[in-house]
């Protein structure tokens, strides 16, 4: 008897019209919609980055005007933070995998999930409109009173775009929390959840609690800019530092919105490649929650030289060291997981190891910035730029791409070219380091960030950085090629091409619309029940 004839169609085969995609309630299709949109924004932000590296290849401002340069780095920041990094893992991999991993047929609120995507697209349209009309030059941080009273660019349009996309985050967070609480399959207790699900839980909490503060702050900017209500501008009786407190109260937790999901992804990648239980599962869970909670208490480390008091500097410094502890624990646990493993070095593992290395360097340099006395010299220089790119691009983007490679067979049912994928991962690692490591040196030597022109002594370091960006850009383009190739020519994957554990590998690749033909059950072996070899 042929089972396949009675099997439900895969989610990809279940309707092929545009309508069946744009009005879908299937979390997997919504994940694909997000993936297409954020890929578009990633390359848009990448073009802005390439233009900046082109300008900075020489000390003089010879490629574009200062005003255009300022608009370029602002656009790069706004697009990469709100339209790529924040939605990247949660809205694509999270949407696709969360219900599969807990054995559910969908998220708790499928219509709300689709609505979140439309909100994201609406926010994106405002941002693109702003670009087409001439851009905005405040930096992604919108510091007042420059943004409210002095900038002559399209601040309001951008602020509205970010305001809208913020609600997309909030609703996604809400949806995930309810899904995890109410839709776990039989036997899926809290401490049997895969770490990726835990990271989605942590990140959803942060999205729901922090993003409203951003929305409020942006609304206040609009009020001051439109109606001259004195909130942030001292000339109107306001306080510019108040803005920075509000902004970083959101934007520091937002850093964890970007990096927590990547930690979850990497835990899955490593355990599957090593075929071994994660070392210290409970400590990995506690560290996710610890980061999510303490992450709310460290915003003032962005303001050590902004004019806050000496004592505030001391308090925020020690809290920033505290939040680094759980991250260190995670790095040690990933390393320990390799011990006595059965280690394969496929593309996902190369991405995961690349993540651990780059994240570690980003984290360690974060300690330099948490040490308030050192921060005085280093803040607002390229040292900070390099530091957060190690976390955001070296960390979050590497993990995102590693995750895409790992779950690609599940998402599409096809296998890509392993050789090309490894080559791209290694090229990306090298290109990344060549781009951003020189920026640590430039920053330690005192090169300020957001400089269109710079003194000639920083020339060599910037040439290296620009050269690295060419490698990095090529490495980002490669996957488009071999992924598209695999869609047509790739081998069929089968349910579990990696020999990985986890409920998502128990169903077909690609999964049917409602994920499982019968609800899966989970036993006491937990999420990483790899048999000893």
């Amino acid at each position: 008897m042929n089972l396949a004839e009675h099997a439900p169609p895969s989610y990809l085969a279940d309707g092929v019209t545009l309508r069946s995609w744009l009005f879908t309630h299937d979390h997997k299709r919504i994940a694909i919609l997000y993936a297409l949109a954020i890929t578009f924004f990633f390359f848009l932000g990448g073009v802005a980055a390439a233009l900046m590296r082109l300008e900075l290849a020489t000390p003089a401002g010879d490629v574009m005007s200062a005003e255009t340069y300022n608009k370029t780095f602002t656009f790069h920041g706004v697009v990469m933070v709100w339209f790529f990094l924040i939605p990247s893992i949660p809205n694509t991999l999270g949407n696709f995998l969360l219900p599969l991993m807990i054995g559910a047929r969908d998220v708790a609120f499928p219509r709300l999930n689709l609505f979140s995507w439309y909100l994201y697209m609406a926010g994106g349209l405002f941002t693109i409109a702003c670009l087409l009309l001439g851009g905005v030059d405040t930096g992604w941080t919108f510091y007042t009173p420059f943004s409210t009273m002095f900038s002559n660019s399209h601040v309001l349009l951008t602020v509205v775009g970010v305001f809208i996309v913020g609600f997309s985050s909030i609703l996604t967070g809400l949806n995930f929390i309810v899904t995890i609480h109410t839709m776990r399959t039989e036997g899926m207790t809290w401490f049997r959840l895969p770490l990726f699900v835990w990271s989605m839980y942590g990140v959803s909490l942060v999205m729901m609690l922090a993003t409203p503060v951003l929305a409020m702050t942006l609304a206040l900017i609009a009020a001051e800019r439109l109606f001259g209500v004195g909130i942030f501008d001292p000339a109107l009786g306001g306080d510019p530092l108040l803005f920075q407190h509000f902004f970083w109260f959101y934007s520091h937790p937002a850093v964890y919105i970007m990096v927590l999901p990547s930690m979850g992804v990497v835990s899955e990648l490593i355990t599957a490649s090593v075929r071994r239980r994660i070392f210290g599962y409970r400590f990995m869970v506690y560290s996710i929650i610890g980061i999510a909670v303490v992450g709310f208490l460290v915003w003032g480390h962005h303001m050590f030289v902004a004019g806050q008091s000496m004592y505030a500097g001391i308090v925020f410094s020690i809290l920033s060291f505290v939040v680094a502890v759980p991250s260190a624990v995670k790095v040690f646990n990933w390393t320990a997981t390799l011990y006595k493993g059965d280690i394969a070095f496929g593309a996902p593992m190369i991405y995961a190891l690349g993540f651990v290395g780059l994240f570690m360097l980003g984290g360690l340099t974060g300690l330099f910035l948490a040490a308030v006395a050192l921060d005085v010299n280093l803040t607002d220089t390229y040292f900070v730029v390099a530091h957060f790119h190690y976390i955001m691009v070296g960390g979050a983007v590497m993990a995102y791409l590693g995750g895409i490679h790992f779950w690609w067979p599940k998402i599409t049912g096809r296998i890509y070219s392993e050789a090309w994928a490894r080559f791209a991962a290694i090229l990306m690692f090298l290109g990344f380091n060549l781009t951003f490591f020189p920026q640590f040196l430039a920053g330690a030597e005192g090169m300020p960030r957001r400089y269109h022109e710079y003194p000639a002594e920083f020339g060599l370091l910037n040439v290296l950085s620009s050269a690295g960006s060419v490698l990095l850009a090529s490495a980002y383009l490669l996957p488009i090629g071999y992924f598209l190739w695999s869609l047509r020519h790739g081998e069929r994957a089968g349910p579990d091409p990696w020999g990985a554990k986890g409920l998502e590998w128990e169903t077909d690749s690609p999964p049917p619309t409602h994920n499982f033909t019968r609800p899966p059950q989970v036993d006491e072996n937990g999420p990483y029940a790899y048999a000893p070899p």
Partner: protein
């Protein structure tokens, strides 16, 4: 490869800490990297090696690598705080220079009335305290060779201090994004020997900042109310600077530069106890550099009669 000079007393201490942390980081990175490499080779797929057994000391291992980093972090924190408190505490004998940032230039005013644009002359070995404000958006004074940086805000005074140790000229950058020509808002700090600096001050002296402030005090009609013989009931200003002022709302504030500045532009916010809030705001009528001159004048007003308090 470093080309950044150490030109202040902070630079050596901060660099020592910086390079210590570079060393510690290198140890951690190498440790993790070598461990990974050993595991990766030893336990690679297809190699026959004993993989049996689970660790029974998980709890101890986890606690160890939670607590050891934390203890290390506390040590680094303590070291940095010692330096930080020093960096935030100017000595009482520091020479004050007033700084006004505006899109996109720096204005420096010495107490002797010497005014400079985008260049600051200081003497080596002498502590200098910069008292800074902005005419428009947020700027930031950053002198990498001194390892000092401080945002310059509109509507309030911030300060930083340093002791230059090496003569020479050093870059001064604006380090807070302030609009179109942010990257051109650069200046130079000229560190001279004390003798050269004294000569420079003498040749560039004009009416002192306080003398200019005294003229402004008259021109803006401040004396009309604040003169002791005035009919208006207004606070007397002799010897005010550095004293403690009881406010109408019950608080007490020290009459420092910030207080004097705010009393001129936002007189209603901190009304001295016993006085009616009748003073008009001079917010849009006096530029920041003139306010600095007025503050400089208020700081010395009454000193010839009351020498009781020390200028900071």
């Amino acid at each position: 490869m470093s080309f950044l000079p150490r030109a202040s007393t902070f630079a050596g201490h901060l660099d020592a800490m910086f390079y210590t942390m570079v060393g510690l980081s290198a140890v951690v990175v190498l440790g993790v990297f070598i461990t990974m490499l050993v595991f990766a080779v030893r336990f690679r797929r297809g190699r026959h090696v004993d993989r049996s057994g689970e660790s029974h000391r998980e709890m101890g291992i986890e606690l160890a690598w939670t607590l050891v980093p934390f203890a290390l972090f506390v040590g680094i924190f303590a070291w940095s705080i010692v330096l930080w408190v020093d960096m935030r505490t100017p000595p009482s004998d520091a020479a004050t220079v007033y700084v006004v940032g505006k899109q996109w230039m720096w204005e420096f005013e010495h107490p002797g009335g010497q005014r400079e644009i985008d260049t600051l002359h200081v003497a080596s070995g002498q502590p200098v305290r910069l008292v800074m404000t902005s005419q428009d958006v947020i700027h930031d004074v950053f002198v990498p060779a001194f390892r000092v940086k401080q945002d310059v805000l509109p509507g309030r005074y911030t300060d930083l201090w340093f002791i230059p140790t090496r003569t020479g000229t050093y870059d001064l950058f604006c380090a807070e994004f302030c609009g179109t020509d942010h990257s051109r808002m650069r200046g130079t700090v000229v560190v001279e020997t004390p003798a050269d600096h004294a000569r420079w001050l003498a040749t560039h002296a004009s009416a002192s900042l306080a003398a200019r402030g005294k003229l402004l005090f008259t021109r803006f009609g401040c004396a009309g109310c604040h003169d002791p013989v005035s009919a208006v009931h207004a606070p007397r200003l002799d010897g005010l600077y550095g004293s403690t002022v009881p406010l109408a709302d019950g608080r007490q504030v020290v009459a420092d530069e910030r207080y004097l500045h705010d009393a001129i532009v936002l007189p209603a916010s901190e009304v001295a106890a016993g006085y009616e809030p009748v003073m008009p705001s001079y917010k849009d009528r006096i530029g920041e550099s003139d306010i600095l001159a007025l503050v400089a004048y208020l700081k010395i007003r009454g000193q010839d009669r009351e020498t009781s308090h020390e200028p900071r």
